[in-house]
């Protein structure tokens, strides 16, 4: 079943929303209680607008030639980042996580009358899709570990060494035929925008090196640097039943 619609008992707090807005929630709470209230309202509203979907496919690696990783389904992934992390992979898992388009539509509709709420709602969506992606990656890491395989760090098109547009095209090609949820624009933008595309490599000889931050163009200049990626959230129950 390559498309999941998880039964996700998500919780989003005002602190989560402010975090997604790259704002220090403690400082904001002291200075601008109104913004905490806006964030809280946005978090509550967001929960009614999130439709999580995970589209995934596992494909065995066929060969590596030059800077290209060829897959058994005749697709390929290319670039220095791919080679660095996936050269020892026996399988790759290609996936897209999305929370659907309802939230961003609402955020846009609020943007004229209440830009502050609109931005908070949009940020709640960013938080939710990032959280979904983190949960899904952790699930699959455990899934492969239990089968004696190690996993690479999650790789996203647009990271240093994997150009955005070619990378997105490669991901979408692998998921062709099973993905009707998320579309790709000519510029590499996904619709719904609250979507994340990921490739995870797995194999007995995989060397897990670095962190995602090391390959991000914001490296060293980001609000999120050195801040915990972990956010408390109830697990996605349906993911416990994933089968590849």
């Amino acid at each position: 079943m390559p498309v999941l619609r998880p039964d996700w008992n998500l919780e989003i707090t005002a602190e989560n929303v402010l975090f997604a807005q790259a704002a220090d929630s403690a400082a904001i709470s002291r200075r601008s209680p109104r913004l905490v209230d806006v964030a809280h309202r946005a978090a509550q509203h967001a929960l009614t607008l999130i439709d999580p979907v995970v589209i995934y496919r596992e494909v065995p690696v066929k060969s590596i030639e030059k800077e290209r990783l060829y897959l058994e389904d005749n697709n390929s992934l290319s670039g220095p980042l791919i080679l660095e992390h996936l050269q020892n992979a026996t399988v790759v898992l290609v996936l897209i996580c999305t929370i659907g388009g309802r939230l961003e539509d609402q955020a846009t509709s609020f943007s004229r009358e209440d830009i502050s709420f609109s931005f908070a709602l949009d940020s709640a969506g960013s938080f939710a899709v990032e959280l979904l992606a983190n949960h899904v990656c952790r699930y699959f890491e455990t899934f492969y570990n239990q089968r004696g395989m190690k996993t690479s760090i999650p790789l996203n098109p647009g990271m240093i060494g994997w150009s955005l547009l070619p990378g997105q095209i490669e991901v979408f090609r692998v998921l062709e035929g099973i993905n009707s949820e998320v579309s790709l624009s000519e510029s590499g933008m996904m619709t719904p925008r609250k979507s994340v595309s990921i490739v995870l490599g797995a194999g007995e000889e995989i060397l897990r090196v670095g962190s995602r931050c090391d390959y991000c163009s914001y490296h060293g200049r980001c609000f999120y640097k050195d801040k915990s990626e972990a956010h408390s959230c109830k697990p996605i129950t349906q993911l416990e039943r994933i089968e590849l």
Partner: protein, 234 residues
Amino acid sequence: MDKEQVLKDLCEAVIEGDDVKAVELSNKAVELGLAPLTVVKEAIQPAMDIVGDRFQEGEAFLPELIVAGDAATASLDVLLEQLSGEDSAAAKKGTVLLGVMFGDNHDIGKNLVQAVLSANGFKVIDLGVNVAPKAFIEAAAKENADIIASSTLITTSLPYQREMIELLKAMGKREDYFVILGGGPVTPEWTQKIGADGYGRDAKDAANLCNKLVSGDYKPGLDEPIIENALKSK
């Protein structure tokens, strides 16, 4: 409440992003006989400068900038009603015509730019989304704009940015307005290639860019565009 206190409280209300209080105090200032231009210069502008500086220094965050911009705009709406046309223009750093280019309807980023530019003392005319090149130019003339700011998130709208500049040239109006660009697929190289005057990667960059353009000795139609990219320069 004396005049000095009103100005002080209004400044604080804008910094705190309290638009209701900012409007009340702006009305109070008018009732007390304070000249609107004085209120702008001694309360609104300092507040916007303080918030802008804090944001630049990483001491304030984007949501705070947005609500401050909202409060400043609400206050200015009250005060500018009281001003003559000449004084009204003097109260602002400049007029920025803002819109998402034809073929694109993604407007959250554009709305953030609007809030940040307002917080920096610019009069912002928001044309919305899916704006045709000619509509930008017609509105620029109507609003006596200083800067035309066009953004897009999709590559298929990029050619319309070039079309707008070519149209300005053909109409003999290229030297009337600065043209600045932003948006996901827009790059400094594209900005240079089509002959725009500046590029900003995000809302903060857009404010820096506009401040430079209106405060320097620049004239529209720069040979080399000004590139603002806080990410790269850090």
